[in-house]
Symmetry: C2
C-alpha cells in the first residue's frame, strides 16, 4: 500500500510508493522504453489492460449490445496498471512521531482518448475531444460519490520528455484524499482576493486581459485562451471560462463544445509554433465536495516543456522565464491553424 | 532591463527576461552545447569573463601582490555573463492594471569553485570546499549591505540535465529584491509551528530523526545529513546544522569545516550510489536583512535528477516519489566512501 506523507514545514502531501520501490539502479533502466510494437491501448488488446471502468461505444441498431473490454469503443477508461494509489481500504490518518501520514487511498485511472494509435488532440475530430471532456465529467461525478476523495486531478503528459510512457494518446486521472499543495495555494489566494475585492480574481483577469489584448491567444463565445501575466514557463498558456464557474464538471453541452474548440486551437497553434514540443496540461478545478463557490474559477493550464533547467526551479519555487508572455501570445495568436470539424 | 512580475493568484514572483527574449526556434538550439574546447573559467582566460568581484589568491611571500583577473586564484567570483537580473537602477514597484511588477534589479554571480577544469566537489580537497563556503559568506555579507536585496539564493546545478551550461565546477548566486515563494512558504510554515509549539520545527526534526535513525545518511559534530520524511524526489537529501541557527552566514570556522565534510561525504555517496547523476543543490537560509530568529533553521537541500516526469510535478505541486526515504537513506548510509583531507 502506498503512503501519503506530509512535509511538516510547508504542509505538502506527497505519495511515497512503497510497493514497487525504486532502487538506485532502476532509474537508468527507466530511460529505456519499448518503442513501437505492442500497444495495450489499441483495439483488440482490451484484455491487456485492467478491466474497463467505462467506455463510450456507439450502438449499431439491430446489432447485439456491445460487450465490455472488446473493440468498438471511442473513449475508454481503465485503471492505471501501475497505480500510484490504491482504491481499497481506509485512510487511517495517523501521527508518525511529529509527522503525519495516511494510507495511499485513491484512484488512478487512464482515459484512452481514441482507438487510433496515431491520433493526437490536434488531429482528432472536435466530437472526439468533446467525448473525452464528457468522460472526464462522468468520472468526476462518479468518484465524488466516494466521500474519501477530496480532489480529482486530471492531466495529460504529451511526449516522453513530459513524462508520457506510452505513445497512444491518453490522459490520466488521480482521485486524492487530500488537496494538492498547488490547489490549496490557488484556492487560498483566490479567497484572499475575494475577501478584499468581493470579486473573483480570475474574472478580473479575464476582464482586464480581454481589454488589454496583448496576452490573448484565442477567444470564442465561452472561453478565453491567454498567456498569464507572470508565467513560470515559456509559452505557458491558460484556457479560462469567460463566465464565473468554479468546477469543470458544472459545464454545459455548449461549453464543452467550445472548450473542445479552444483546446484543439491552442494545441494546434502550439504544435505549429513549437515544433510539436512535449507538454503537460492540467485541469485546475474546485475540490469535488465543494464544487460551487464565488472565489475560485476552474481553468486549464498548458505548459510546454522547452527548457532543461527545471531542476533548479522545482528546488526553489523560483522561476526565470526567458520568454515574455506578450511575445509568446503573439506567436501563438498569429499562428494560423485549421480546426476542421472532422480533424 | 528584466522584469519581476507577481502572479495575482498565488503571489509568486517570477523573472521575465525581456532583453534576450527567446523566440520559439531558440529552444531547440539551446540543447546544442559546445562541449570541450574553450573554457572561460580556466586559468589564463580571466579576461573572457566579466571583471572579477572577488577571488582568493594565496600570497607568496616576497612576490608582488597578485593582480585582479589574472591566474593564481583558488576561488573566483564573477558576474554572470548573461545575468537574469541587472544590478543598476531602482526597483520602481508599480501596478500594471490589477497586476504588480518591478524592475528586475538584483545580482547574478558565478562562484568558480576551483581552477581545475576537471575537479568536482567530490574530488576537491576539504580546504577548497571550505574556501567555497567562506566565499558564499563573503558575498552574502557584501550584498546584504544593499538594502534593496531581501534574499541571496545560492545554488549549484551539476550536469547538463540539471541545468549546468558549463562543465567547469561552479555555483551560482542570485540576490533578489523579493523572497522566492518557496522561501516564504518555509518561513511561514516554520513560524506557524513555532507559534504553536514554541520550538523550531527543524530542531524537532533533527532530534526525532537522530533518535529514529532510519532516515539518517551521515552525521558529524555539527551537521546531520538525512532523507526528509516526505521527500518530493527520489534520494532527496538535506544537510542541517544540529544546533539552531537561522542563517548560513552566521556559521563559525568549525561549522564550515564540518559542513565541508558533510557536503563532500553526501556528494561522494550519491555519486557512488547514483552513478554520478546530475543534481541541484540549494542553500535555504533566512532573508539577509533578518538573519536571526527563533523559528527558521538554515539547511542545504540536495536533489538528484533521476526521473523524467518532473513536468507534471511542477505543473501541479503534487509529487509521486517512487523511492521511500528510508530506502534512499539506507543506500546512501551504507555506501562507503573515502573523504581524504586532500581529495
Amino acid at each position: 500500500m502506498p503512503e501519503l506523507r506530509k512535509d511538516p514545514i510547508v504542509g505538502r502531501w506527497v505519495i511515497i510508493s512503497t510497493d514497487r520501490a525504486k532502487r538506485p539502479t532502476d532509474f537508468s533502466l527507466e530511460q529505456v522504453k519499448a518503442k513501437g510494437g505492442f500497444c495495450p491501448f489499441c483495439y483488440g488488446n482490451e484484455s491487456r489492460t485492467p478491466p474497463e471502468i467505462q467506455a463510450y461505444r456507439p450502438q449499431v441498431p439491430g446489432s447485439p449490445a456491445p460487450q465490455k473490454d472488446t473493440p468498438g469503443w471511442t473513449v475508454r477508461v481503465v485503471p492505471n496498471k501501475f497505480p500510484a494509489l490504491g482504491v481499497e481500504g481506509t485512510l487511517n490518518r495517523q501521527a508518525d512521531g511529529m509527522f503525519d501520514r495516511m494510507n495511499g487511498i485513491g484512484a488512478h485511472e487512464v482515459i484512452i482518448e481514441t482507438p487510433d494509435h496515431n491520433a493526437t488532440l490536434t488531429t482528432m475530430s472536435l466530437k472526439r475531444i468533446e467525448d473525452m471532456l464528457w468522460t472526464f465529467r462522468d468520472r468526476i461525478l462518479d468518484l465524488k460519490k466516494d466521500k474519501r476523495f477530496k480532489y480529482v486531478l486530471i492531466f495529460k503528459n504529451h511526449g516522453e520528455a513530459a513524462g508520457a510512457s506510452l505513445d497512444h494518446s491518453h490522459c490520466q486521472l488521480i482521485a486524492l484524499p487530500i488537496l494538492p499543495k498547488y490547489v490549496v495555494e490557488e484556492l487560498e489566494g483566490a479567497k484572499q482576493y475575494y475577501l478584499y475585492k468581493e470579486r473573483c480574481v480570475f474574472c478580473d483577469i479575464v476582464h482586464q486581459e480581454v481589454e488589454n489584448g496583448s496576452r490573448i491567444v484565442a477567444e470564442n463565445e465561452d472561453f478565453i485562451t491567454l498567456a498569464p501575466y507572470a508565467p513560470r514557463f515559456p509559452f505557458e498558456t491558460w484556457i479560462l471560462p469567460k463566465n464565473h464557474e468554479s468546477a469543470f464538471e458544472n459545464s454545459s453541452t455548449k461549453m464543452f463544445q467550445n472548450l473542445a474548440i479552444a483546446m484543439k486551437t491552442l494545441l494546434a497553434k502550439a504544435e505549429h509554433v513549437l515544433d510539436n514540443a512535449p507538454y503537460n496540461m492540467v485541469i485546475h478545478t474546485s475540490p469535488v465536495q465543494e464544487p460551487q463557490n464565488d472565489h475560485y474559477h476552474w481553468h486549464i493550464e498548458f505548459m510546454p516543456k522547452l527548457t532543461t533547467t527545471a531542476g533548479f526551479e522545482w528546488g526553489t519555487g523560483f522561476y526565470i522565464n526567458p520568454t515574455p508572455p506578450e511575445e509568446a501570445a503573439r506567436f501563438l495568436r498569429e499562428a494560423e491553424v485549421e480546426i476542421a470539424e472532422n480533424g
